[in-house]
Amino acid sequence: MKHFTEIGAYFLMLGQVFKRPTKRSVLKELILKEVEELILNSLGIVVFISFFVGGVVSIQTALNINNPLIPDLLVGFATRQSVILEFAPTFISIIMAGKIGSFITSSIGSMRVTEQIDALEVMGINSLNYLVFPKIIALLFYPFVIGIAMFLGIFGGWIATVYGGFSSSAAFIEGVQSKFIPFHLIYAFIKSFVFAFILATVPSFKGYYMTGGALEVGKASTAAFVWTSVIIIIANYVITILLLS
């Protein structure tokens, strides 16, 4: 029951986010700041993780191919498929639920407990639009982050394969190019957009409606990470059934 009222409150919040917009010039600045904090500041960890996980995926695949009947190009093929379909969009989004998600919840939550949100409301500002809308817009750039993760994941796989001596560079690249289905890329980017929206709004919801003090801000951040991940996993499942099966 409690979850149903929370879901209702979440959608009511979304309604408010798109109402009574903040002054244009101010909104522009807020969006730029969010792009920096949410997108640019996340690139480092995304680059690091994608490169190495891509490498591990290809090594694992290579190690599991003992049968000489299976061609070497399977390594590149498997790396590409897993990176584009799941690793980049979903795995990275779970990591981002931890990074961006807890950042959003704790920053909005501490504004709530120190009455900064009340201060905005008293001035007649729509605090939900002021705080959440710029995050949604900034996260429209999120699919670019995922694009980078895809590229670096495959690149990391190539490096690991070639320098680990598992197969030749030519075989890996041939594998990456073989049986490519463009719709898989579209599917991955559709997922990324949906995940971006979840990443912007679920942690905001958890922070905006929290009560208590500094301790509760910490708890809310943890709860936000859990809920954001769970919702991303469910959304992933639903989108996959709708688009791929």
């Binding site: 009574r20 101010v26 504004m111 120190t114 900064q116 009340d118 201060a119 409301e121 007649g124």
Partner: protein, 253 residues
């Protein structure tokens, strides 16, 4: 002028405000006093529309707040300045940006004009060298003064202060009290101040509402409070050791 008729507010099953009726006059410093937990903050937040009262009416210049549409509320709120108990400064912004915020949001002033107004109010609250500092880099007392500057920078018609001088040293507290009174008279605005500080009561208590357990237990001003015959008021006034001592001395004469 703000009028309040039969205001009730409860959280869960606990009544916090009980049938509160009173009036706050323009050009005067109106004080809401009472011990911690008596409902002062909740009352202020009801007046501001941050909490929705369960019943009763709040009238701003004879217009009921509950009957105002979104635009009227927005217009009203731009004429309200509020100093929150903890300051509620935006911690991602510098002192200057905090004070400039209402101007940036609601006026078409140029950067130059805004900086001019900001420096003017900051010097009124005796804060001249903190423009580029962040709230976390200044003391609690300085934060309070920035909050006051932010509340008055856009020339409000109504000024609300929730314990504006709690946590300040007595001298700064008095400066702040006097500043609030000065502004109130100079711009002829309606000012409402929550406090449990007897010094403020003496200094600026032009109209006093005494809240106890969410009820108006007494009304008067700085001159009449010492002759109040209500026991709760006497207890409140003489909860301060200083006043207790003064009374003992007076009695022993």
């Amino acid at each position: 002028m703000i009028k309040v008729n039969h205001l009730n507010k409860q959280f869960g099953d606990t009544p916090i405000l009980r049938d509160v009726s009173t009036a706050f006059e323009r050009g005067k410093t109106n004080l809401i006093i009472g011990s911690s937990g008596s409902g002062k903050t909740v009352f202020l937040k009801c007046l501001l529309g941050l909490y929705r009262p369960d019943s009763g009416q709040i009238l701003y210049s004879d217009k009921p707040f509950s009957k105002m549409d979104n635009n009227e509320r927005k217009e009203l709120r731009q004429k309200i300045g509020m100093v929150f108990q903890g300051g509620a400064l935006f911690d991602s912004m510098t002192v200057e940006e905090n004070v400039m915020f209402p101007l940036r949001m609601f006026t078409d002033q140029t950067e130059q004009e805004m900086i001019h107004s900001v420096n003017e109010v900051l010097s009124r609250v005796n804060l001249n060298n903190a423009n580029k500092k962040f709230p976390s880099e200044i003391s609690g007392g300085m934060q309070k003064r920035v909050a006051i500057a932010r509340a008055i920078v856009n020339n409000p018609r109504y000024l609300f202060c929730d314990e504006p001088n709690s946590g300040l040293d007595p001298k700064t507290a008095m400066v702040i009290d006097n500043l609030i009174q000065e502004i109130t008279q100079e711009y002829d605005i309606t000012t409402i101040i929550n406090t449990h500080d007897m010094n403020s009561v003496m200094e600026i208590g032009q109209n006093i509402v005494f809240l106890q357990y969410g009820k108006v237990a007494w009304e008067g001003n700085a001159n009449t409070i010492f002759n109040a015959d209500k026991q709760e008021v006497i207890d409140f006034v003489y909860s301060s050791n200083l006043f207790k001592k003064i009374r003992e001395i007076q009695r022993s004469k």
